[in-house]
Every structure is written in C-alpha cells, then in structure tokens.
Amino acid sequence: MKRGKITVDVAELRVVREGSEILHSLSFRASEGELIGLLGPSGSGKSTLMRSLLGVQVIAGGALQILTKPAGARSLRGKLGYMAQGSAVYLDLSVEENLHYFAGVLNEPREEVARVLEVVSLTSFARRVVSSLSGGERTRVSLATALLGSPPILILDEPTVGLDPILRRDLWDTFKKLAESGTTVLVSSHVMDEAARCERLLLLRDGHLLFDDSPTNLLAASKSSSYDDAFERLIEQHS
C-alpha cells in the first residue's frame, strides 16, 4: 500500500515515572494511512507511550515529533483524537451532552455529534446518562469523542475491551476505513489475537520495543502458528 507523509516520529524516547524508567529509548515512525497495533501485556508501557505522544506525559529523554511539531505543542491540540483507557467521559452527563461539550471545545458543528454516534452505533443511546451504560457502551462513548472532527491521528487505548465479537469486528472495520482515508491509527490491546487485524505491529514489553513489522512476518520469523506463541518466543529471544 502507498504510504503518505510521516505523521509520528519517535526517537529514543525515555520516560521515567517515580524514579523508575518506564520506556527505554523507544524509536519508531508512523505515516498517514497506517493502522498500527500496539500490543503488549498490561504494564508494558503502552498507555505511557500513548500519553507521551499526546503531550500530557513529561518525558525524560528523546524526541517526539507529531505532524512535524514537538508533541504537546499548542497547535497540535485537537489534531490527535484520543480515547483514554477507562472511558474518561463525564459519567453524570448524557451521551450527547458529553459529545456536545467535547465538540464545542473543538469548535465542531453539532451535526458532527450525530455522525460519530452513528459510527460507534450509539445513536439510540444519545439521551442515556453514561453512568447507566455498560462498560462496553461507555468505551464506545469515549471512542466517539476521539472521532470528533476526524483528526489526522487517532490514539486509541484499548478501544475493544469488553465488546462483543460482532461489535469488535465492526470497530476494526471502522479503524481500517479511517486508515484508508489517510488517518494514522494507533490502537493498543493486550489481546494478542487482535494482532491479525493490523497491518503493522509494535510489540512492547517492560518498556522495550521487541518487534516492529507486519503480523505475517511475526508468525514467520518466530515459526509460530499463534500470536501468543510468537510473542512468547520473542520474549525468550530477548531475555
């Protein structure tokens, strides 16, 4: 597939939190139209990496360029759609009140709210208060806020957790379509089986990037039949 311009450039990124190094000299690049899976067990540093890209995490070293600007630059605010782990929406507001607020801050028209609700299949839930929704439904509200204004970069932290298989498939189809339209989509997951849905994989463990290539090459390189086995062998090679 034809690749566009480089949108994310991470060079030797180091993050230290409370005295211990969480990310160790991480480097990778991403381009327009790429759908990248960020996989790794819980605690491997996926969320910290995503939060560094968003510019809300203090970094200890290295460089982060997003759309040729340093991460966290004022002009980047609103250019990265972010879905945080654990929903991060107002539980005491209705679904549409949440979306209208975020859309307002982004200066997006009200019709944009109806559009993103459609994408995450929550149109019929618009008037429900978020606290009355299930975990999976809350996740989709959060995802909808990330899609507001069709930002050029999407950073989605575990967007498919707790969703039924049909919905999960539909969302991955949505991510693919967004990537095909030129968006850089970075999706994290701790479920290895989701690897097959991406065209490129970043495997993170204990803050080290173990692998950066396509899922088929992961299976071939490790001579494994499942992604879980492949990850296991990769860890053995590195330790």
Binding site: R51, A84, S87, Y101, V105
Partner: protein, 241 residues
C-alpha cells in the same frame, strides 16, 4: 482566554449538577437550614441572633462551596476527563474560569436565598444593609469555590480533599472573631486574623463602619478569590510527571 470555551465548560458543569438534584438541593438549602436552626436555637435571645446570624452568613457558604468544588474537580482528574481536555484546545485558565462561573452562579442563588430567608422567615433584624450581607455571602461562596479549585490540584484523593476542610477552613473559623472578638486575640494571632478572608467577611457584615472600612474588607476578599483562582491555574499541570 476564549469566552466561548469558558461558557461551554460552565454549561457542562451545570448540566452535570442538573443530573444530580440532591447535590443542588444540599448546596442551596444547607446554609439556609443551618441559619434557620441557629435562629430557632436563639429564639429566646433575639439580640444574639442579630449579632451571630449575619456572621454565619459569611461562613456557611464558604464551607459548602469549598467541599463541593474540591470534590468535583478532583473527580475530573481521577476519572481522566481533565487529561482528555488537555489534549484539546482548552487552556487551564478557561477550565478554571468555567468552574468559577458555574459555582459563582450557584453562590449567587445560594446567598440570595439565605439572605432573603434570614430577613423574612428567620426574623433577622440587623443594622447592616441586606444587600451588603448578600454580597458577603456571595464573596464567601466564591472564595470557597476558588480555594476548592486550588487545593483539589494538591489532593491525591477525594478523602484528602475533604480533609483539607478542617485544615484550611476551621482555623479561620477560630480566628475570625466568632468565638473571641479579633481585638481580644493575642497580638500574633491578631495579625494573622486581620488578613484572613473569613475575618474580612465578618468585618464586612459589622454595622456602623465607614465606607472605606467596608471597601477594604471587600478588597481583601476579592484579592483572596483572585489569588486562589490564580493558584488553581498554577497548580494544575497539563503534563503528568
């Protein structure tokens, strides 16, 4: 500072409260109910109520607004919505101003309610002018909000935020002249008491003073409100360490 984003934030906070009628009820009614209870306990000593009642009008809104604001802003950080907002074009100043407007509006309603009820139902007769007492109640509510915003950034949990109340509000209550007139405090304590915002609130309610004196007391309260709002904007961090 973009006024549109400030007002959007204000509207969002008021919407949150609308979904929680119990909190609104507590917020608006508790100070009035407390003053009513005080009036009842002093019903055989009307002159005592005339002197203590107005003073407490400057104390209760401060405590109530402090608690509500610090918990609701802290929740914004623990749930992750604050970090989410900081990836969007919303500045810290707009965020703080949005909260100050929302709770300022509630403080207006709260202070009008408590002052009106005091002068009518509770039979408050006070030589001060009612609008000045309403204004003091408003300043006290705003100050509670501003202090709550500033301290919520320092607290790590809602539990800690609630503990800040006895730590920051109760000493002022002891020094403000409610228990011992400020003039009879030990010299060192008097110096401190004279510049505390709660003392200013109580001084501003006292009858028979000069306009310059009242202006000075309101200036102290406004300075604290603005200072606490600025501290709130300074203590909230866009980036996590």
């Amino acid at each position: 500072m973009n006024l549109r984003r400030v007002l959007l934030t204000t509207r969002r906070i008021l919407q949150q409260l609308r979904h929680d009628p119990r909190t609104i009820g507590l917020l608006l009614l508790v100070p009035s109910a407390l003053i009513g209870l005080l009036a009842w306990t002093l019903s055989r000593r009307p002159s005592s109520f005339a002197s203590i009642g107005p003073q407490l009008l400057g104390v209760f809104p401060l405590i109530v607004m402090f608690l509500v604001t610090s918990v609701i802003t802290l929740r914004e950080r623990t749930v992750g919505t604050l970090e989410r907002l900081f990836t969007l074009p919303l500045t810290k100043g707009e965020f703080i101003a949005g909260y100050a407007f929302a709770f300022g509006l509630l403080a207006v309603v709260q202070s009008m309610l408590v002052a009106t009820l005091s002068y009518t139902w509770f039979g408050l007769s006070h030589q001060g002018i009612p609008w000045r007492i309403g204004l003091v109640a408003l300043c006290a509510g705003l100050l509670g909000t501003a202090l709550g915003l500033a301290l919520s950034a320092v607290a790590h949990s809602e539990f800690q935020a609630v503990q800040f109340m006895p730590a920051f509000i109760l000493p002022q209550l002891l020094l403000c002249g409610l228990f011992v007139p400020v003039g009879q405090l030990p010299a060192a304590l008097r110096l401190i008491a004279d510049v505390l915002p709660m003392t200013a609130a109580i001084h501003a309610i006292a009858p028979w003073q000069s306009t310059a004196f009242y202006t000075g007391q309101f200036a102290i309260m406004v300075a604290y409100i603005l200072g606490a709002l600025a501290a709130g904007a300074a203590t909230i961090r866009r980036k996590t360490k």
